[in-house]
């Protein structure tokens, strides 16, 4: 079967259920697993290139619903191509459902079932471990300027909840734009910033002057959103990583070293 994947998460799922060899083209940012990087590109997941997709003579095209790719997806369907559109959110359950559907569609039914079962078990294991623990007040930032945080009713909000967080931006909408004043006032004990890449590349100096507990106690973390929290088969790893940041001791990590107030990182 010749498969074209129109989203990085779908590419990951296809490889995870053992259909990687049948993938003939992928969307631009499909960078995992490493084998996916050498596959031909057919435009971004927001704007796939219809002609490039057709040129690969696919037996199956898999896309996620998005306002940007609607015309392209409808165009491919109108040409008689088999197009599967999978809804990936906003809950972990939806993602597992999407993985199951993709696996069925590319005739990897059993591999899909095993993968979904394994992910379900990983999520349950995290849930069991954090259940008895006190929930720290957490702010998760996805955009730096302006400050955009994880609110409610999205995948990251559910991952935070499952990882044992008390989200300070809950109740303010799905992706609230927050003022700096609110960030200081809400006094987060942990801040997770996914707007600037990982710890090595992120410039977190903005937080140093805020005098918040998360900074004083060395609990300001940068994570890469696209790598870890993509709505695909690595969702279990992503959840574990979040839970580890929120409850380091419960996961056998050393307690974070306290930093003097306002110290630059």
């Amino acid at each position: 079967m010749r498969i074209v994947s129109l989203a990085p998460s779908i590419t990951e799922t296809l490889f995870a259920v053992g259909a990687g060899a049948e993938v003939v083209a992928v969307s631009d940012l499909s960078d995992f697993p490493p084998e996916a990087r050498s596959i031909e590109r057919v435009g971004s997941y927001m704007k796939p290139n219809v002609e490039a997709v057709i040129a690969h003579r696919p037996d199956l095209v898999i896309a996620v619903p998005s306002p940007g790719n609607r015309e392209a997806v409808e165009g491919l369907m109108a040409l008689g191509l088999r197009v599967l559109v999978v809804e990936e959110g906003p809950t972990i359950g939806d993602i597992l459902g999407a993985i199951g559907r993709i696996a069925d569609e590319c005739e990897r039914h059993d591999a899909g079932r095993v993968l979904v079962e394994r992910l379900r078990e990983r999520v349950a294991a995290v849930r069991r471990r954090v259940a008895p623990l006190p929930r720290p007040r957490v702010l998760m930032v996805v955009g730096e300027n302006p400050l955009v945080a994880v609110g409610d009713d999205n995948l990251l909000a559910e991952l935070l909840r499952e990882a044992g967080a008390d989200n300070v931006a809950s109740g303010l909408g799905r992706w609230p734009r927050l003022s700096v004043e609110f960030v200081v006032k809400s006094a987060p004990q942990v801040v997770i910033d996914s707007s600037m890449g990982d710890e090595a590349s992120a410039d977190l100096s903005f937080y140093a002057g805020l005098g918040i507990e998360a900074v004083r106690r060395g609990r300001l973390h940068a994570v890469r959103l696209d790598e870890v929290l993509r709505p695909g088969p690595r969702i279990g790893e992503g959840l574990e990583k979040l839970a580890r940041l929120l409850h380091p001791r419960a996961f056998g990590e050393p307690a974070p070293a306290a930093r003097p107030a306002g110290a630059p990182r």
Partner: protein, 341 residues
């Protein structure tokens, strides 16, 4: 209204009274805007300098005050630039966004945002925007210079075209980068005063006050220029020099403001206009009054932007455009109906 007929004579006393009144208004606005916020703070703790780590102190001095001061600086620069440009181009609908500098500055900022150039964005973005505004300025001056003289009509047209090209380039860049970066670009374009450190506020202040003073120094010549080029020449004005200096100073003001706050439109249009209706069109008073008035206007616009939907914020550029768009149409209608402005 016909300015020549109704305008009261500008005396030193009246100028002093107007400027002093606006300065007091600005001072009061700065204090009030620092008190009003989306988050309630305890002022006994906020003003306790022995504990600069308390949330209240941090909110007042690190989050709120810098942006109030930046709002005053940017608003002042846009107001003064607007007043001068309207006199310079002899067009009451001219505004800093029209002459193409904001578009050019945007390209600089957006290239940094979109390419994700390494380093701290808070200084790289303004630096790139400022450099791009100067480059645009150079290009516009060159293209509008006919037979060695800067032609205000060419300038206006070249400015409009420069903005169109800039808008197209911005769309090109957003189409080429991934959606997260594209979103950052769009957000920047709506204009914001949040999260700027004092060092940047101080830098922008210097780059705003100096050109604004330079414009003020040209006020008398701009008055003569408003009477018409021939009259100005007959009265001994070096028209070419006045145009060049005033345009350069205005462009610096716009470049400085766009570089730090994105595109905050219409301040430079509304403020000089309302003031002209109130105090007359003598540039010696109008330029400094537009500076102070623009500062007051933007400080309050930003206060509304950060409190209306607190703890969420509205981009202040969106707010000023929402007020300014209808006002612009109103002005245009008045002008078309032959009532003048």
């Amino acid at each position: 209204m016909r300015p020549a007929a109704r305008q009261p004579r500008l005396t030193r006393e009246r100028a002093r009274a107007v400027l002093a009144g606006l300065a007091v208004l600005l001072g009061a606005s700065l204090v009030l805007a620092a008190i009003i916020g989306g988050v309630r703070i305890d002022f006994s703790r906020a003003l306790d300098f022995a504990h600069p780590d308390s949330p209240d102190f941090v909110i007042l001095f690190r989050a709120r005050l810098p942006r109030v001061l930046l709002g005053a600086t940017v608003g002042g620069g846009l107001g003064a630039a607007g007043a001068a440009l309207q006199a310079l181009l002899r067009n009451p609908l001219a505004s800093p966004d029209v002459i193409g500098i904001s578009g050019g500055a945007s390209i600089g900022a957006i290239l940094v945002l979109a390419l994700g150039v390494g380093g701290p964005a808070w200084i790289l973005v303004p630096a790139a925007a400022f450099a791009a505004s100067l480059a645009t300025l150079g290009a516009i001056v060159r293209l509008s210079t006919v037979h060695g003289r800067l032609n205000p009509y060419s300038l206006l047209l070249v400015g409009v075209i420069a903005n169109t090209i800039a808008a197209a380039l911005i769309m090109l860049v957003t189409a080429m980068v991934d959606s997260l970066r594209a979103q950052g670009v769009l957000v920047w374009l709506t204009g914001s005063l949040a999260q700027r450190p004092y060092s940047l506020v101080a830098t922008v202040f210097v780059f705003t006050v100096l050109p604004a003073l330079a414009l003020w120094a040209q006020a008398r010549s701009l008055n003569l220029l408003a009477l018409g080029e021939e009259t100005a020449v007959q009265l001994g004005t070096d028209v070419a020099r006045v145009r060049r200096t005033s345009f350069l100073a205005s462009a610096l003001l716009v470049g400085a403001s766009v570089s730090v706050s994105g595109v905050i439109g219409f301040v430079g249009l509304i403020v000089p206009h309302c003031l002209r209706l109130a105090i007359g069109s003598d540039q010696r008073l109008l330029i400094p009054a537009s500076f102070l008035g623009g500062a007051v206007f933007l400080v309050w616009a930003d206060t509304v932007a950060r409190t209306l939907l607190a703890p969420t914020e509205i981009p202040v550029g969106v707010l000023t455009a929402l007020c300014g768009g209808p006002f612009f149409i109103f002005l245009l209608r008045r002008q078309e109906e032959g009532r003048g402005i």
